[in-house]
């Protein structure tokens, strides 16, 4: 059928509570008032778009669903216009449910502990400074294109033991999988095919010459029966690390710089008191959480009294949960020294982001090194800030001028 890959039309939204669309340009540009409006109306809302989809709007509703793996499956974690067949070993453990989830997750955890990240930190600090060297003399930069994008790409490439210079390839695949494929299914298959071919080459090379990188680590890992992982499992995990590890942190660093570019008082405060940095990073994660996931209902149940049936999709908006004033006083304000911050930017429950320690380290190092070398900066009024659409939200164009206004 030739019309299978035709993109579905998305008419502009006129009623966010009954007909929401997380790909609408207004949602992409400024979702916060939309979420507030939805949350005020109901703890769970529905749209007929995307073959029918629910969205919990409150922290409590999001928390309940994230913890309920019996009724809500992770076999589909992106809400799309179509429902392609679920692939085996799509991207374990993010697409796994119990009981397969735990062994797949435990395999990935040891390389991502805070101690492991400390060893990677000097390389990330050097990457940040190499990038800044490249544009600091220009007096201005598109920080999304020349700074925030490259930090996670190079860091994950370094961990995987693949050339940092292949970064542009990874970024192309991620764009195809997370943005274009929502409305054009064929793009997904093409991206997965290209990634599989790329990583198969690196796996074959390590069969001859084993290394001490993350790809070799996965190839040497054993499952619970003491058997090596199937190649498809190794490939799925590599896909996950690449997809989940890059534009997420790119977005989080970018949103933090965007905030600091517009808020001189917060910039001055962080420079005057660098000990605020860890709580500031947590607050940026809360206020500008990049990642929205999804679940598929597999057993009849209710969300805050609203009945849902097997086959229904649920848009799991951690970013909206983190703006819920019932959970966070002054939820719409960025409070750099917020004392209690149980934000859900990295998810809640068994699917807590495996790379959260990596993301935090990259964010802190990226902001620290930037502030050391470019303490004064502002948005370039001649440029336009643009944000990515869909599952991961962050600045994709971030024109910045250096120095005081």
């Amino acid at each position: 059928m030739s019309d299978v890959s035709q993109p579905t039309a998305h008419p502009p939204v006129t009623d966010w509570v009954h007909d929401f669309d997380h790909t609408d340009p207004r949602w992409t540009a400024d979702p916060f008032p939309i979420w507030d409006q939805m949350r005020k109306a109901s703890p769970v809302v529905h749209t007929d778009r995307f073959l029918g989809c629910y969205m919990p709007t409150t922290y409590e509703a999001v928390r309940q669903i994230a913890h309920d793996t019996e009724h809500f499956s992770s076999r589909r974690v992106i809400v799309r216009d179509e429902r392609p067949e679920v692939a085996k070993n799509a991207a374990p453990p993010i697409t796994s449910d119990p009981p397969e989830h735990k062994p797949a997750k435990q395999l990935l955890l040891p390389p991502f502990t805070p101690d492991a990240m400390k060893k990677l930190e000097p390389r990330v600090r050097a990457i940040c400074n190499e990038l800044i060297d490249g544009f600091i003399k220009d007096g201005k930069v598109d920080a999304a294109a020349r700074y925030t994008k490259h930090i996670p790409v190079r860091a994950i490439a370094h961990m995987l033991g693949i050339p940092e210079s292949d970064g542009d390839l990874f970024i192309k695949w991620i764009h195809m999988i997370l943005e274009l494929s929502i409305k054009n299914e064929a793009v997904l298959g093409q991206a997965v095919q290209e990634m599989t071919a790329y990583f198969t080459g690196h796996i074959e090379a390590r069969k001859k010459n084993p290394g001490d990188d993350l790809i070799s680590y996965l190839m040497n890992a054993r499952d619970k029966n003491g058997q090596p992982l199937e190649d498809s499992h190794v490939l799925g995990s590599l896909r996950l690390l690449l997809i989940a590890g890059i534009d997420t942190t790119w977005s989080a660093i970018g949103a933090s710089l965007w905030h600091l570019a517009r808020t001189p008082s917060d910039r001055d405060r962080l420079i005057a008191d660098p000990s605020l940095m860890p709580t500031a990073i947590e607050e940026f994660l809360r206020a500008y959480s990049p990642v929205t996931m999804a679940r598929e209902v597999v057993k009849e149940t209710t969300i805050e009294g609203c009945p849902v049936k097997p086959g229904n999709m649920v848009l799991l908006s951690f970013p909206s949960a983190n703006r819920d004033s019932a959970m966070f006083p002054d939820a719409d304000k960025v409070v750099l020294d917020r004392k209690e911050n149980r934000h859900s930017a990295f998810g809640l429950g068994i699917h807590r982001c495996v790379g959260s320690n990596l993301a935090r380290m990259e964010m802190q190092v990226a902001i620290e090194e930037w502030l050391k070398r470019i303490p004064d900066f502002r948005l370039d009024p001649a440029g336009t800030v643009t944000w990515s659409q869909g599952t991961v939200r962050g600045p994709r164009q971030l024109p910045i001028l250096f120095g005081k206004a």
Binding site: F112, T113, E340, G349, S356, N357
Partner: protein, 71 residues
């Protein structure tokens, strides 16, 4: 100031998902295993002067996995 009893912290291993917030906020009181999941140091007794850190760790655990009890 009223005499407070000695505090103890405990991480519920069934609830902990390895966010590692407690270790960041109170490294004297929590330790992480090879998977990055948290456990209290020793029997969880909170040395004098670290009480605030114990409460802070509890208040920032996204999984509500930390108990603070008074003897």
């Amino acid at each position: 100031m009223p005499m407070a009893g000695k505090l103890k912290v405990h991480v519920d291993p069934d609830k902990c998902q390895g966010h590692a917030r407690c270790k960041a906020l109170a490294p004297e009181l929590f330790t992480l295993d090879e998977f990055g999941n948290a456990h209290e140091v020793g029997d969880g007794s909170v040395p004098a002067g670290l009480e605030d850190k114990a409460w802070l760790a509890k208040a920032n655990c996204p999984e509500i996995a930390i108990e603070v009890t008074e003897d």
